[in-house]
């Protein structure tokens, strides 16, 4: 449920490092807690995001929640598919349900994130 090749934030986002870039989505735990996602609001390519700050929102039948950037940098790609089909976040949170790709301005920020084991531990503690 928490792939070992990803890094995790305390705000329940994951990031997959691809060179200088990071692909970002929300975790299995986050999508399960939210319930059926009905709407996603994402930034545009070219927007700057800052680690720990909101870069968009995700809306389920239960609630609207902010999405928090795990690292700082420029948004270079946005998943258009997921905006039209938000259910991808529920079905495939680590695959086709990804949200944005960030060109990292400070890859050192990755050290502030958790590995799969630490994240799973955090979620269990609730």
């Amino acid at each position: 449920m928490y792939p070992a090749d990803l890094k995790y934030s305390k705000d329940h986002e994951w990031i997959r490092v691809e060179g200088n870039r990071g692909r970002v989505g929300i975790t299995h735990y986050a999508q399960e807690t939210l319930g059926d996602v009905v709407y996603v609001d994402l930034p545009r390519a070219g927007d700057m995001v800052k680690a720990g700050e909101s870069f968009g929102t995700v809306e389920s039948v239960k609630s609207v929640s902010d999405l928090y950037a795990p690292v700082s940098g420029e948004v270079v790609e946005v998943n258009r598919e997921v905006m039209d089909h938000p259910d991808l976040i529920n079905k495939d949170p680590y695959g086709s349900g990804w949200l944005i790709i960030i060109e990292m301005s400070d890859p050192g920020e990755l050290d502030n994130l958790m590995d799969a084991l630490a994240y799973e531990e955090m979620v269990k503690e609730g």
């Binding site: 059926d36 009905v38 709407y39 809306e59 039948v61 239960k62 609630s63 929640s65 938000p86």
Partner: protein, 487 residues
């Protein structure tokens, strides 16, 4: 609840061409051709309903029977405070001297109405410990926005450009929305183990960028933050202001006041605290009170008294301006005024006492069956969780809320506050009898038992309502927003 035999048609689909519910004499005014330009003329008749009077009356009577409201049964919707609205307040607000006046009437012809606004301001100021109050905002969230615009005007007038508003993670969603709407960056303050503001975390967030802290006390967990004086001192020390979300004022009337706790700005939800109808039952009102340092910024006009007559005071040079046309939703203010006058100071105190007693009574009975994340005395509401049922039986809070409909109750607020998983936020209000509370406890205990013995049954609920389980996902993803003829 009785399954309604009514056939679900819309009024547009009832009746027959030419049928009508009125009978007027033939017009004795000659027809005039107004010579409208061609492009402004309607091409087709407007498609109005064509029904007889009995069809009309039966249609709306049938619709009204599908409603659940405080006039039909218990409605423990946490934070929304669905208390009974005394009918005498409606009767008083409907008096022609109140209901029939026009906002353009000169002051000398509406002295009684102005006196009522003036006295209401004094009552609200006394209850909250503020210096002055504006009646203009048209609802609670509008009051919040007004309040935060006052905070902004205050700082700007002092030449300070503060950029942040702090909001606890247990806050009503309107708090961050309000701050964002007023142009502030919203910074979330975590809660501590007891459900209050995490003072150590707050300390780290406080600096000269902070315009203010928005707080509800008691908060959305129904818990009173005893550290409020410490918190107020901390925020004031960096030059910030304290905003009181008055949604839960019904828990503290006559016992303490936001002004005494150190708050600078307060909004009231007249419907939650003083029993006026909620949205959908008419317009709302969200008066805002302030301490004297913020008075110069209040919306104009205020109502003042010169010793002989009441008048509109527009002489506030630093005013943020009007936030609503005329003087707010006056009819709502009349209802709340009537409520305050009929209860008096002791009565209002008893309202809070009974609201707190009822909530603690329910909590004490339900905590054996549902997980209670913050186990201490609550105020007017409390939050339990469906966590046990979800983990043990796969039954979610949503399922149990739907099942409550089968027992004839409106469910509590669910999945809020966000910091409690599978949350159920229960607010019985002071207007319910012990018998009603016992019936509700009984239904909840039965549901807890059903969750263990017949989980599938709960997952399919409700069964006795006119419409069964709705597909909320499809409703959100593919909403049908309007009726189309012939569809």
């Amino acid at each position: 609840m009785i399954k309604n035999p009514w056939n679900e048609k819309l009024i547009f689909e009832l009746g027959a061409p030419g049928r009508q519910a009125f009978s007027l004499p033939a017009s004795d005014v000659p027809e005039v051709d107004l010579d409208w330009p061609e492009n402004m003329r309607r091409e087709k008749a407007p498609g109005l309903p064509e029904v007889s009077e009995p069809e009309l009356v039966r249609h709306f009577t049938a619709l009204s029977r599908l409603n659940h409201g405080v006039d039909t049964d218990f409605y423990p919707l946490g934070s929304c405070t669905m208390k009974y609205n005394p009918k005498v307040d409606e009767a008083l607000a409907a008096l022609p001297g109140f209901a029939g006046i026009h906002p353009y009437l000169p002051e000398e012809l509406v002295q009684g109405a102005l006196q009522l606004i003036y006295e209401m301001e004094a009552y609200l100021a006394e209850i909250s410990g503020m210096d002055r109050v504006t009646m203009q905002p048209a609802a609670g969230a509008h009051g919040e926005l007004t309040g935060i615009l006052l905070v902004r005007a205050y700082h700007r007038c002092r030449g300070e450009n503060r950029t942040r508003i702090l909001v606890p993670d247990s806050a009503h969603g309107t708090n961050p929305a309000t701050a964002a709407m007023a142009g502030y960056q919203v910074v979330s303050v975590p809660s501590d183990q007891r459900g209050g503001v995490d003072v150590a975390a707050l300390e780290k967030l406080l600096d000269e960028r902070v315009a203010g802290l928005m707080l509800t006390n008691p908060n959305t967990l129904g818990l009173f933050d005893e550290n409020i004086h410490i918190i107020a001192d901390m925020v004031h020390k960096v030059g910030g202001l304290l905003y009181y979300d008055g949604a839960n004022t019904n828990a503290i009337m006559g016992y303490t006041r936001p002004g005494n706790m150190g708050f600078d700005v307060v909004h009231f939800n007249l419907h939650k605290t003083f029993a006026t109808p909620h949205g959908g039952g008419g317009p709302g009102a969200g008066p805002v009170g302030v301490k004297k340092d913020l008075v110069p910024f209040l919306p104009v006009p205020l109502v003042d008294f010169d010793g002989k007559r009441y008048y509109f005071n527009y002489d506030l040079p630093h005013s943020i301006g009007k936030v609503r046309s005329f003087y707010g939703n006056f009819g709502v203010v009349v209802k709340a005024y009537a409520y305050i006058r009929s209860l008096g100071a002791e009565g209002l105190k008893q309202v809070s006492r009974d609201a707190v007693l009822n909530a603690n009574y329910l909590m004490a009975h339900l905590k054996k069956y549902f997980y209670l994340p913050y186990d201490r005395f609550c105020k007017h509401e409390f939050v339990i969780s469906g966590k046990w049922q979800k983990e043990r039986n796969g039954v979610k809070t949503l399922d149990m809320a739907k099942r409550l409909l089968d027992y004839g109750f409106h469910p509590p607020t669910i999945y809020f506050p966000l910091i409690v998983e599978e949350a159920m936020m229960i607010e019985p209000t002071e207007t319910e009898s012990k018998e009603t509370l016992d019936r509700f406890i009984d239904a909840m205990i039965r549901i807890a038992r059903e969750a263990e013995e017949e989980p599938e049954k709960i997952k399919g609920a409700p069964y006795t309502t006119y419409i069964g389980r709705l597909d909320e996902v499809a409703a959100a993803r593919k909403p049908e927003l309007r009726w189309r003829a012939g569809k």
